[in-house]
């Protein structure tokens, strides 16, 4: 087994990887930017090194510096997490050339799947259905225009180098094509350090279904069933679940086989995800393969009982899977909600500022993956996701019921969040009936936005007691007490509250 891992990432995924490392007896090495010096994952890691300034281009995307840090810290492997350099083949290659193990797929597989032309050709050869109509990066404006005409509008502009909803535009008409391409390129450059984009036919009313795969170094590939990620807003996944209720057993097994074939066709090693779009008529097409761990991996972990991150380390260590396809069972139902610091009632703009207080929900069948703590800053440099709340139930309705409970128990004070919006989605009959396609939210947004809460009696009580105690707190207190505004207190009048001193 590997001994010491540099985690080339930050936030909740770094926290997740540290846990897997601890369980396996691997020491974890965190890197951090100046903005993350007090972050949870930095505190948790066995070693931590400052890597640069807050902008990702000066820290988490500094490939050379990250590899030097790994070597200086005597690491034997690098886990890239997701985002940043996770799907950068050149980085993976440099890691391997530096004599470090790469906890992810080989650079050839990343490159093959990163090149949409190559991926498409490989998929066709492997008998995996692909989306009709396609154009990889071209230089001339005329070429883009001609390609879009040939494919037929609406077309989708997508970043070649990444995922996560970044660098995607849907173009309905020729007039909007070039500006959409330019914006997608700029977004892709910032998010993935790769400005290449491509065009493909946009399938309307499609459902996004993806299959998790695992492959060991001996060429043994299995799938861990599907996740449905159709609940999206502007191509950003919001709610993911497993199993999908929109596919039959036949489609499920055909998709599983297609995903395994897709992975095998590029000699894939480690964990990966093959994304499909399911059209209204039940046919499905290969969209792309994400050559990394996915944000939504916990739903698969719940329904299969397999720890995907630990499997990544075992595979990277050279261990065989020790699982055959028949050993993998999909049991019960899991749902994930992504909690973002954003304001649904103000165009979902990120809500930047201090999280004054954070208390994740807990309980049977509830898992929270989060990288934040009370008093952390949500900055403009990184993704505004605060937490992923994942619930498990025997049935889908139990998982939903649990999610409603979990979200009601999630306390995030100080920044606006999408929790009210998530609650509306979970209560919506079309979600409950499983009728949402990838554009559902964009089409029905006005019915889903949370209304401003009324100042109900309980809120008034909370506020009144808060202000009373705050006034009491303004009596002189010792310096020690003043410094810790969250310390528990037991009796009046020295009530202590989560308030930032005005002075």
């Amino acid at each position: 087994m590997l001994k010491r891992c540099l985690i080339a990432n930050r936030g909740e995924v770094a926290v997740r990887i540290i846990q897997a490392c601890r369980e396996l007896g691997i020491e974890s090495v965190a890197i951090y930017s100046t903005a993350d010096k007090d972050a949870l994952y930095v505190k948790q890691a066995d070693f931590a090194f400052l890597i640069g300034e807050a902008p990702p281009s000066e820290s988490y995307l500094q490939a050379e510096r990250i590899i030097q840090t790994a070597q200086a810290a005597a690491c034997d492997c690098v886990h890239p997490g997701f985002g940043f350099l996770a799907e950068n083949a050149a980085f993976a290659r440099s890691v391997l050339e530096a004599g470090l193990e790469w906890v992810g797929p080989g650079p050839q597989a990343i490159q093959a799947m990163g090149s949409k032309t190559e991926a498409r050709a490989l998929m066709l050869k492997a008998g995996v259905p692909v989306v009709p109509g396609f154009q990889e990066d071209v230089q001339q404006e005329d070429e883009w225009k001609a390609a879009a005409e040939a494919i037929g509008y609406p077309v989708m502009v997508k970043a070649s180098g990444g995922g996560g909803g970044k660098g995607i535009r849907i173009v309905q008409q020729a007039d909007d094509l070039l500006s959409a391409i330019e914006m997608a390129q700029n977004e892709a450059q910032r998010a993935f350090n790769d400005r290449r984009v491509f065009l493909e036919k946009y399938i309307e009313q499609g459902r996004h279904i993806e299959v998790q795969i695992l492959a060991d170094k001996k060429g043994h590939v299995i799938h861990l069933f599907e996740r449905e990620c159709s609940v999206q807003r502007r191509h950003q996944k919001i709610i993911e679940e497993s199993p999908s209720i929109s596919i039959s057993e036949e489609i499920r097994s055909a998709m599983g086989k297609a995903a395994v074939d897709a992975a095998a066709s590029v000699g894939y090693v480690n964990a990966g995800t093959v994304e499909f779009i399911l059209s209204e008529d039940g046919s499905f097409y290969f969209l792309e393969m994400n050559t990394r761990l996915q944000v939504e991996h916990p739903v698969t972990e719940f329904v299969t009982g397999i720890d995907i991150v630990k499997m990544q380390f075992k595979i990277a260590s050279g261990e065989p899977l020790q699982l055959d396809q028949a050993d993998v069972k999909q049991q019960g139902h899991a749902i994930e909600c992504r909690v973002y610091a954003e304001d649904p009632n103000n165009q979902f703009l990120p809500s930047i500022g201090e999280v004054l207080f954070f208390k994740p929900p807990q309980g049977a069948g509830i898992r929270v993956d989060s990288g934040i703590q009370s008093r952390d800053q949500i900055t403009l440099h990184y993704d505004p996701m605060i937490a992923k709340v994942i619930t498990y139930g025997q049935t889908r309705s139990e998982a939903i019921e649990r999610m409603r409970y979990a979200l009601a128990q999630s306390v995030i004070l100080g920044t606006k969040t999408n929790i009210g919006f998530l609650q509306n989605l979970l209560n919506h009959p079309d979600f409950i009936d499983g009728k949402m396609d990838t554009r559902y939210i964009d089409r029905n947004l006005e019915h889903l936005l949370p209304e401003e809460s009324a100042l109900d009696e309980d809120t008034l009580i909370g506020l009144a007691l808060f202000e009373w105690q705050l006034a009491a707190q303004h009596q002189p207190v010792s310096g020690e007490q003043r410094g810790d505004r969250f310390s528990p207190w037991l009796s009046y009048p020295n009530l202590r509250l989560g308030v930032k001193n005005a002075d």
Binding site: A191, G414, T459, L460, I461, A464, E467, W468, Y492
Partner: protein
């Protein structure tokens, strides 16, 4: 003790008094609420009412802002400032930063004339690119930001003199 808040554009006045037995009387308009027992852990405020009903409300404050959470309720109120004037920044909203962001590009210079919908400024936050477009045709009088600047929400970025309709 009286507290004045602003919430959703409305003024909200709240009176809270402590009784000899340690309980509180809270008055809001014609609503009178008696709260019998209180406990606090961190930001958690727990109360019990005369009928035995108990509940925990989560409250935190930052300057004048108050944040409240319980069950389906997530809201923010602010302490009323009687001297508050409407900030000039709230006007001409279209020419201000909609969120904290970094300026990535200035597409115009002082003295340029622009058409409605022309790109003026590109900003970036959290890997998202946004643009400020001219809300009307006009002349660029001032630019208040340079490439690389980090700007606050509501910060005015550009002055545009509206041209006379022809």
């Amino acid at each position: 003790m009286r507290i004045n808040y602003e919430y959703a554009g409305e003024k909200v006045a709240l009176d809270v008094e402590r009784q000899k037995d340690g309980s509180f009387i809270i008055t809001h308009e014609d609503q009178v609420i008696r709260v019998d027992a209180v406990d606090v852990q961190g930001a958690a405020i727990q109360f019990r009412q005369e009928d035995g009903r108990q509940k925990t409300i989560w409250v935190a404050g930052d300057g004048k802002n108050r944040f409240v959470h319980h069950e389906q309720v997530n809201l923010q109120v602010s302490l009323a400032d009687t001297n508050r004037r409407k900030s000039s920044l709230e006007n001409d909203h279209d020419l201000s930063a909609q969120m904290p962001a970094q300026i990535t590009n200035l597409h115009v210079q002082v003295g340029d004339t622009v058409k409605m919908g022309d790109k003026l400024i590109s900003l970036e936050a959290m890997k998202m690119e946004m643009q400020i477009l001219a809300p009307y045709a006009g002349l660029v009088l001032h630019l208040h930001a340079a490439v690389g600047d980090v700007v606050e929400r509501g910060q005015r970025l550009i002055e545009l003199e509206k041209s006379e309709p022809e």
